[in-house]
Homo-oligomer: 475 residues x 2
């Protein structure tokens, strides 16, 4: 929507609720009375009492994301998300946000590869109001051709500003498209420009009718409320909604067996700091074997998160061949996660040399393992980050919605911290070893364009300056 | 269908009719009276008299191919092609082919990225018979769940044998998927295995109803017939068919601006002769600027087709660093063509050295141009190949169907030879220069798997044996 929100990893999210509800104080989780309900039309409701302030966060999640779009219509989920602010017979265009504001609240929306969410943060006595507004637009959206034309231009401009004009965003987009061979995660969430240009009123309405049904929605309410009272309000506002379409199947091509290491070399005159970035397709939380995603999370944290990580200590502090280096695990998707590693060469260091050292270090860690104290510190750091994230009611609600629309459960969230703390160095490295195979990877080089580019450019070369790595999600 | 036919380039096809109809004897083209008609239901008919033998080739073309498939349903076009032999109320499963055989004819079908075609070759007096059969299955296909189950297994086995068990086919598939960033040409025509597994009766029937309509079909008849008599037969058999769906739009994502050279390195224990293969996205005949595709055709022929080509003379005969080397242009698609270059290193020559020489040679040719005599010889060779292809009535009909379903016209075919012969060395190289840019390419290495594969594998290395290159279309 107007102010886009980047979705951070499950890390912070899962951590937030885990610490709140987690095993360190299981009684407290029960005290919170996080309750799940299902209305007769199939709409799911989750209520998370949080009495620190007299406010509520109200979110409506739809189990549809960019990875569910029809062929040639990438960007449609995000397009519809924008159009959902265009209004209904009862609430004219733009009025939704004005009503929320008039009551002192804020509202917005976001789209990921797996889900679409609309939310408001508002004084608790207005929960019924925002439920009425959301229920209304779940079934009564009215679009005109003009709405669609206007919003398409807004999105094209958004794409131009955020992606086309940003070499790192373009680089991330192309790397992602090379990492996934067949699965729709390879497509940008905002859509390929050529597809966005062709999105039409009929596309948006067909998508809306297919996916915006009560049985495909999850309402999450966190705040200064009691579950029983929220259930009553939900029944009042959402209970009478009708399923206008059968529950939509999510048809997504799974990745074929990984067979070939890939490489993407992009040159752009606007690049100031060259980057090398390696990515691997990894299991995601909802589909990983027990403890596997947790092991990858701890591995990535120990190997490359922050200035205390092994990668940083070795390449930046010790050998001084990189000005920046890091790694991450993103397991916060329905079908696949990623492990990523990035570095920027120090002045005078060639990309080839940096890559060779990076490869050697990866090889060494996968063979010899990680120091136990690094793994312990990583697990503790993950839990500590979670403690920090705890403060946000918004994150809390978002984590629950995100988990439930991607195939995780509240139980998975509750067990997260315990599983993180149980990860041994052996388990962390074994999980990484299974993922970090060349044929399962793409290696990207983002380089400053040189005048003499020629057909040999797909190989690494060239000097380098300093800078920060790209680590954005495509949305 | 049962005996798959690989689609060769437009080259031989276009050449066939061009020589038959072409500028060297324009009067003869008129003598042939190649006639186009349109029935009232929108079905197009092309008749090409060919009185050399008392036979006809009857083809029904549908303007739908693998690039038109819904998301997550790759392989559906080919799946439906198989299912079209399952029968109707009047013609039970398997009966179609038996009837054709009983009358001394042959029949088959094929699927490409852009179209699907069914054909029979039969004695001319049976033209009405095969028209009746094709008209019947254009509207009355009956499928059972068992048909669908059985045929899905047949196709999975076809994919296993032709692709999964063949490292070169796998390599070609992954290269292709890396060459096209967003356009559906990146998907294999037979489909990703995961998609094939999920193809259902309802998918096939929805696709059939949407695309198998008279207004979306082109009937091509070549043979010992007169246009007027064929038109009467076509009106009798096809004229009463009803358009059960509006003419289907072909929604295909165009490629985003090329930005990054890509690289695919595949190791397989079954590889005997390593290969390097470079591919570029090029304009295709139907969408190229005037003469541009012809210039690329001549360039590829002069640069790399056969033992007299510059590439072969230099790398195989002269420097002896390759045992095989070649290049091709394939412009026979609706949206994009490709230029490809491949080589196999001579014993003892490293892939790195071969690639460096290949790059240097490409650079040299793009900068300094091609010898005039090579270009002349290439153009003449293309025309000569066409003369050879001329003999086949089947090719003749296929070329016309192919052209008309991808956006070319009979006039384009007629002008082909003249345009080929007009290509100058400057024009050929200028066209190649616009296409053969690193950011527009993928470079693939197919290597014998070594025991010590590690994370640095995305870079070229290793010794090599001898062999022939892969140059298959994915279908």
């Amino acid at each position: 929507m107007r102010h886009r929100i980047l979705i951070s990893g499950l890390l912070a999210l899962a951590a937030a609720l885990t610490v709140l509800l987690g095993p360190r104080d299981p009684a407290r989780a029960l005290d919170l009375k996080a309750k799940e309900y299902e209305l007769r039309n199939g709409l799911k409701l989750v209520v998370i009492p949080d009495h620190r302030a007299p406010v509520v966060t109200h979110m409506v999640w739809y189990r549809v994301g960019a990875a569910d779009e029809p062929a040639g219509k990438s960007g449609l989920t995000h397009f519809l998300e924008h159009l959902m602010f265009k209004g209904t017979d009862k609430v004219p265009a733009g009025e939704f946000t004005r009503i929320v504001k008039r009551h002192g609240g804020q509202d917005n929306a976001f789209t990921t590869a797996d889900n679409t969410a609309y939310f408001q943060r508002i004084a608790k006595e207005n929960l019924g109001l925002v439920m009425r507004l959301e229920a209304d637009r779940m079934q009564n959206l009215k679009l005109t051709s003009k709405d669609v034309e206007t919003e398409r231009e807004v999105i094209k401009e958004e794409r131009r500003m955020r992606t086309e004009n940003n070499p790192r965003a373009l680089f991330a987009e192309r790397l992602n498209a090379a990492l996934f061979v067949a699965h729709p995660y390879r497509r940008p969430i905002v859509g390929w420009m050529d597809d966005v240009r062709r999105l039409r009123l009929s596309d948006a309405m067909a998508f809306y009718r297919k996916y915006y049904t009560p049985a495909n929605a999850i309402v999450v309410v966190a705040g200064d409320v009691e579950p029983g009272e929220v259930l009553k309000l939900a029944e009042k506002h959402y209970g009478s909604l009708i399923n206008t379409a059968p529950k939509a199947e999510r048809v997504r091509t799974r990745e074929p067996r990984p067979l070939a290491a890939r490489r993407v070399v992009m040159r752009d005159a606007r690049v100031k700091a060259p980057i090398i970035q390696r990515m691997y397709v990894a299991p995601a939380y909802p589909r990983a074997k027990k403890g596997e995603a947790h092991a990858l999370e701890v591995f990535a944290q120990a190997f490359g998160e922050g200035a205390t990580s092994l990668l940083y200590r070795r390449l930046v502090v010790g050998e001084r061949i990189a000005t920046w280096a890091g790694a991450w695990y993103d397991g916060n998707n329905r079908d696949y996660g990623t492990i990523g590693i990035y570095a920027t060469p120090a002045p005078g260091v060639s990309m080839e040399r940096l890559e060779a050292r990076l490869d050697a270090l990866i090889g060494e860690v996968l063979e010899k393992g990680l120091p136990e104290k690094d793994v312990k510190r990583a697990a503790n750091a993950l839990v500590a980050e979670a403690t920090y994230a705890l403060d946000s009611q918004f994150y809390l609600a978002r984590m629950v919605g995100d988990a439930l629309t991607t195939g995780s459960s509240l139980a998975d969230i509750r067990e997260w911290e315990a599983r993180i703390l149980k990860v041994t160095p052996e388990r962390a490295v074994a999980a990484a070893r299974a993922v970090m195979r060349p044929e399962n990877s793409v290696t990207g080089l983002l380089l400053k364009a040189e005048p003499s580019a020629n057909a040999a450019d797909a190989r690494a070369k060239g000097p380098a300056a300093a800078g920060k790595p790209a680590r954005e999600k495509a949305e």
